[in-house]
């Protein structure tokens, strides 16, 4: 039954309480802005398709950066142009979510050009609404990749010239050459009829995602009266005579039938069957350390830092692997200097009894430093009461902090004696587990077997770890 009342869709917040200032009812958009119309069409579609609670809306940088003031969906605001990457991540972790990447032409076609290309090429099962207003609205009307030849903008005051600024980019045509996408259409908001076409296209694109048919993108030619410096009604003439003349409307690709509807994937990380999706080791107890670690050593956030080539990334990786084998939740993020050797390198490791919200370690509870610059740089960041282990063969100063526990290990000399100074990283690793008792020797040995590719080096590493454990225990 056609609805008897056309009113603000339920997928909008009742009150826009996230807006600052007294007005909690209107949007921040200029009079006649296409963003407002599109929000309405998307909200209405979500109501009618019954997906409001499943929608995750990726807010771009641009005038629509605050779409989350209005649309009562799951909302994430992301870095400029990166909406397709974040949409990909959300969709893969939450296959049941309906993920909408909403992007302007500056966001999608300029700074985020490669992001959209790769997401389309992968055929990610997401829906992209691409708002083409042929200008950077938010920043005051600069040239966009989609601005027309001759169009006057803040950065092309004499009009876009092909020689200097290149030609306007036709995104739909470009993406339609790829195998990946399922559905690509360009529509317009110029007339009531075209707006209805847009309304249909939005629904189709969302429907395709609901049926897991793959990547959809709807490009919407949308008025920006402010950026174009015309009144809203006049903006329609420019759309007809200029914009639609260059950007042809229509369906550029639709292979929905060849990519038949699929049921939702079983494995949704957040659904009830999380436990069966990822098997935890069953012989968990066997791998836990003999004595459980003192409370202050539990759930550590580590930073492990040194020169590139000292093996600090491998050290962290081995710890994370051993932690995982012991049934902990773990994270590991490497950070490389620009050079492969000789530059600085560090990694951040989390080992936790509970799920880890963020893998970023800005204030470590444990710092393992294997050269002086790393100790200089990261010692001040250690949490109060934290632990510092450093290689005293290479660091000839004492720690400055007195509110932390610190242990000096002659790691490089020990490794030298064992025949290879490069095993110093494993001496440090041994010292850490010897000191804290966080991980068992067995779990580390098992991890070593997985992470060390050259098997003839395993023996040396085992010896180095055992030496380290002795030092660590000695420092208990």
């Amino acid at each position: 039954m056609a609805s008897k009342i056309l009113k603000k869709p339920d997928s909008f917040f009742e009150s826009f309480s996230r807006r600052s200032g007294p007005d909690k009812v209107s949007t921040h958009y200029c009079p006649g802005c296409g963003h407002g119309v599109l929000h309405k069409l998307i909200a209405e579609a979500a109501d009618d398709l019954g997906i409001q609670d499943r929608c995750v809306f990726i807010n771009p940088v641009g005038c629509s950066v605050f779409a989350y003031f209005y649309l009562d969906f799951g909302n994430i605001q992301v870095a400029h142009g990166r909406a397709p990457a974040v949409a990909t991540a959300v969709k893969r972790v939450h296959p049941h979510a309906i993920v909408i990447s909403y992007q302007g032409d500056g966001d999608l076609a300029a700074i985020g050009g490669n992001n959209i290309l790769q997401a389309a090429n992968r055929g990610e099962n997401i829906t992209v609404f691409f708002v083409n207003n042929a200008i950077y609205g938010m920043t005051g009307g600069q040239l966009a990749p989609t601005s027309l030849i001759g169009q006057r903008t803040a950065t092309t005051p004499r009009g876009r010239s092909a020689e200097n600024d290149g030609y306007p980019m036709r995104v739909c045509e470009l993406l339609a050459t790829l195998e990946g996408p399922t559905y690509i259409e360009r529509t317009s908001l110029r007339t009531p009829k075209l707006t209805q076409k847009t309304r249909k296209a939005i629904r189709k694109a969302l429907q395709y995602q609901m049926e897991n048919r793959g990547f959809s993108l709807v490009e919407i030619l949308s008025p920006c009266p402010t950026g174009w410096k015309v009144d809203p009604v006049k903006s329609l003439d420019w759309m007809e005579q200029q914009l639609e003349a260059y950007f042809q409307l229509g369906v550029f690709k639709d292979v929905g039938d060849e990519r038949p509807a699929k049921a939702d994937p079983e494995r949704d990380l957040w659904s009830a069957n999380y436990g069966t999706a990822i098997d935890l080791p069953t012989d968990l107890d066997a791998k836990l350390p003999e004595a459980s670690p003192a409370p202050k050593y539990r759930n550590p956030s580590l930073k492990i830092a040194g020169f590139g080539g000292q093996g600090v990334l491998l050290l962290g990786y081995t710890l994370a692997e051993a932690g995982m084998l012991s049934g902990y939740h773990v994270t590991w993020i490497p950070s490389y200097g620009p050079e492969m050797r000789g530059g600085t390198a560090n990694c951040q490791v989390g080992i936790s009894e509970e799920r880890i919200g963020s893998p970023i370690v800005s204030n470590p509870s444990v710092l393992i430093a294997t050269n002086l610059p790393s100790m200089d740089r990261f010692e001040p960041e250690i949490r109060e009461g934290g632990l510092l282990l450093y290689d005293r063969s290479l660091i000839d100063r004492k720690p400055n902090r007195t509110d932390i526990e610190s242990i000096a290990i002659p790691a490089t000399s020990v490794a030298d004696e064992l025949g290879n100074s490069r095993a110093a990283n494993m001496v440090m690793l041994g010292a850490y587990i010897g000191k804290t008792g966080l991980l068992s020797r067995e779990s580390v040995m098992e991890a070593l077997d997985l992470v060390i590719k050259r098997k003839n080096l395993i023996d040396l590493n085992i010896k180095a770890i055992d030496k380290g454990i002795e030092y660590g225990r000695g420092a208990r």
Partner: protein
């Protein structure tokens, strides 16, 4: 203004004068030309759009043309209005 309630015998459009930003896209697109610009000024400083009072067919064109979520509500014939 007296509030109309009950089942509507005729379609009508209700424009919230305070929510209108005076883009006049509704005025421009209404096929019946039953929306006009009012002389008064709203709190945003605009002359808001206003329904002429008769002749709306409930086509909904103005609703889909308007960028503001709550500026326009269209009641079709037979709708129950509170």
């Amino acid at each position: 203004m007296a509030k109309e309630t009950g089942v509507l015998k005729e379609a009508c459009v209700v424009i919230d004068a305070e929510e209108c930003k005076a883009c006049y896209l509704c005025v421009h697109h209404c096929p019946q030309q039953v929306i006009e610009v009012s002389e008064g000024i709203n709190r945003k400083g605009f002359h808001p759009a206003r329904y002429k009072g008769t002749g709306c067919t409930g086509c909904g064109i103005c609703f889909y043309a308007c960028p503001e979520p709550s500026a326009i509500t269209v009641y079709r014939k037979g709708a129950v209005k509170q």
